[in-house]
Symmetry: C2
Amino acid sequence: MSRIFKSYGFITGKVEQLFEMDFSKELAPYNINVKQYGVLIKIDEKPNSSQKDIAKELKIDRTTMVSIVDHLEALEYLTRTKNPQDRRSYCLTITAKGKQILEDCWGALEQSERKIISSLSDQEARLLKDLLIKIFKNQEES
Amino acid sequence: MSRIFKSYGFITGKVEQLFEMDFSKELAPYNINVKQYGVLIKIDEKPNSSQKDIAKELKIDRTTMVSIVDHLEALEYLTRTKNPQDRRSYCLTITAKGKQILEDCWGALEQSERKIISSLSDQEARLLKDLLIKIFKNQEES
DNA sequence: AAAAAATAGTCAGTTATACTGATTATCATA
DNA sequence: TATGATAATCAGTATAACTGACTATTTTTT
């Protein structure tokens, strides 16, 4: 057995690559990538977030965030409005068009992921997700 | 619960980021990144592989492979010699220096990963790896 | 054997992505 | 009011990865 499979990091990276490669094909027609879709999700769930809020949650650099939001704004998937409480920051909100794409692609994502984890039983799949979330949450706390 | 955590792809990506961020710090003094370390592992395990062999296994583009091997060769972590059986291709082999770094960093990787999965029991950790490998192997077959 | 097709690797040029550090506008605090 | 902090921006830089053309070699076809 190769060391690649002895390492959690490498095997996690490999599997991540599978998910990303497949889903990004679905997103391509909408002219966005997985990271940008993640931003859309966050803005949908927490309307009026600032760029900084989203950047922090998704571990995206502040300057990179500018170009992502520029892009999503140009596509009219979200709007930037000055925050009246703090005019340094923006309130980001998803547009109807953005929401539509969010929902359309969510179905594609679920389907894509089902395909990739098809070798796992329902119980195994649930377990896998729980374990990954446990690792992530543990790190968020510290 | 955010959709980010409902998606296998997103949560896998997040966890991968944790592994990569930590281990890449260990590799930095040796002037290589995680992907390049992966190439070293493969060459160590299958000496005399061609660039194409490695590229295929690790899903790296052939032209990207050229720069990775250039880099590792410049650092004297591996050598390129013409394959006498097929002079179009190279035989890649790890050097003593490369092997040394491979082993030194492997310890660091294990330690780094132990830290990141510290919230899991031994059994959970083993299970996680098994499930990830199952997903990856399933896809390799098709 | 000669011609044609395929393959491994290379290279120039392009694109995408993300970062550094400086700057602007605004807000909080002293 | 003055000082410092913060949110976002921007120019410039770095890097990674890809496209497509190219060389050298091998394989296949005729």
